[in-house]
Symmetry: C2
Subunit: 352 residues, 2 copies
């Protein structure tokens, strides 16, 4: 087993499929060897890159040299492809959202258990540095105890013009970007969710949501706003985080940001009233310069272990998975609560 | 009647009381002549400024030379003072929030009707230029049809250290700043409200809210986020407005802002994918420069008629009030729905 190299076949060689190739390439002990796609030009592309291609998914599963199947297809077929691969004795990596419902994920997890194979979902944005900076802020109480988190991604380009606009394929922005932001949020606290409210945006007239806003309250009092928009010509900050001692912001993907905290070293200094519209306000005046500390938002090194390094270790029984299926299940349950809250226009009270 | 000057007595000579003096001074036909306050040093201040002071509220009301009473006291006594003044034949101007409940306002309106006197609430932030800029944007469709409005005031100075921290006096930020932002919102649309959700912030441990977030959906589909915070060391933009053709922002009280709209003159240009965290995204990439138009947010002149100019005209039967009591009533009904939504953690479905 010492020198074993795990052979990987990617199923679905679109944007994410070739991205998996890039992620696998630098990792020892694992190699992308083959590709299967229902679109012929993608197979030609794969062959031109030196990969073996297959005539059918059955051929992939029958190939005993294949150890791992990576599923990077539209969302609606994840479940069937995953279960077939597990039953054929393959380990499986699946793109997000793993499935459209939590019940479907449970079927996959059961199949993985019965086949004694590894099933791991590629929640790649756990490695995003902006998220790791916020996680570091929360854990090290750099703005005191965090009690409110706002996490947004906003663009003005609409939904990508492919299956992501179609309901039957698991399209829509809640399932696309939402699954990342919600997964990140749940990693910021150990608390359970108490209530969820949400609204979906359908400004673009697609049959799926072109964005959403969700308000999530945790049992420990933490509140969160999670928002995805594709009709926003100006963006609000990527992260806006309030703690008992200050506020932290990351403005954009360039990781520009700042942390402003109360200066414990000085006594309270009354702010100077400012002109605000036709009136004066002291309440909404900036705190006096002496009474706060303004710092850059500290960068943190990205996780040292990559997704595929971890996968190799998990397959060999040497590590726990960095993305656990029960975590992924919880995100799907939260997505179901968000859909329900938006469709019924009610507050969903549910322990998640 | 041609040369009549209306004499005004201000009751409650704190910050807002003396502000009324400044507002009245430049207006022909109306003059601040007297002051009444229960705090002796404020009476001394008023005398030093040349105003007559009174030994009791009864003395104010018995003074036949007094035409108008301005009520600028804590909120809990607005109703009784207003009704007494109306019954004594005075016109009445009242600070906001006019009352803590809509039922109390109805009592005042009834008393004004019976006494045939003018009763007008000083919603002074209708004259704020930031609000007038947004109203102009909406009415002139400068970002297309506006379908979403976010209006925020955020500070880090807590609640002012006076009666505004106490429930019995009508304290809390929903009644203080909230009443302004909600009043402004209702002037942006003719549509009725359909649903309200809200949460109150009590981070500072006061018995009243130190801020709130309300989500309001109108029957015509317009959605709004109204937010007041006193524990925000970094501010989100004062206004964030989405229309079918673009997005508009006013960042702060300095009125800095911009409008970014779709460029109708050019065909759709695909955005270039950008690196976002560990992944690439085209959806969340900025639109290509050619396909949008970036403009400064147009300043608008403040309303030409001031509050007290309008008051004189209304008293003389020459104009309709700029602040109508039915508008003020609607804001109070909305505030009641916000308190209810927050306390019951539910979506309040109510036509307002």
């Amino acid at each position: 087993m010492e020198n074993k190299t795990y052979n990987v076949v990617v199923v679905g060689y679109g944007g994410m499929g070739s991205y998996h190739g890039q992620l696998i390439a630098p990792v020892p002990g694992i190699a992308l060897t083959g590709v299967y796609d229902i679109v012929e030009y993608r197979m030609e592309l794969a062959r031109s890159q030196g990969f073996r291609t297959y005539g059918s998914y059955g051929e992939v599963l029958a190939d005993e040299s294949v150890d791992v199947v990576v599923i990077a297809t539209p969302n609606d077929v994840h479940k069937d492809l995953a279960i077939q691969a597990l039953q054929a004795g393959k380990h499986v990596v699946c793109e997000k959202p793993v499935t459209v419902t939590s019940a479907e994920l449970l079927e996959i997890v059961q199949a993985a258990k019965e086949a004694d194979r590894v099933f791991m979902v590629h929640q790649n944005r756990r490695w995003d540095e902006d998220f790791l900076m916020v996680k570091n802020l929360v854990e090290n109480k750099k703005a005191g105890e965090v009690f409110h988190v706002e996490s947004r991604v906003q663009g003005a380009n609409g939904i990508p013009g492919d299956w992501r606009q179609l309901k039957a394929y698991g399209g829509g922005m809640l399932l696309d970007w939402g699954v990342h932001l919600l997964d990140q949020l749940l990693l910021l606290t150990d608390s359970e969710i108490e209530t969820v409210t949400a609204s979906l945006s359908t400004i673009l007239g697609t049959e799926v949501d072109d964005g959403f806003t969700a308000h999530i309250r945790f049992k420990d009092g933490l509140t969160a706003v999670i928002e995805v928009g594709t009709t926003n010509f100006i963006k609000l900050p990527r992260w806006y985080v309030k703690g008992t001692e200050g506020t932290a912001v990351i403005y954009d993907w360039d990781l520009s940001g700042e942390i402003v905290t109360r200066n414990q070293a000085v006594a309270h200094v009354e702010p100077k009233p400012i002109q605000a519209g036709v009136g004066l306000t002291k309440t909404m005046a900036p705190p006096s310069e002496e009474s706060t500390i303004r710092e850059p938002f500290e960068r943190v090194p990205s996780k040292t272990e990559s997704f595929y390094e971890n996968l190799v270790s998990v397959i060999e029984g040497k590590a726990q998975p960095l993305v656990r299926n029960e975590q992924v299940l919880r995100v799907l349950m939260l997505i179901e609560a968000i859909f329900e809250a938006a469709e019924t226009r009610s507050v969903v009270h549910r322990t998640i």
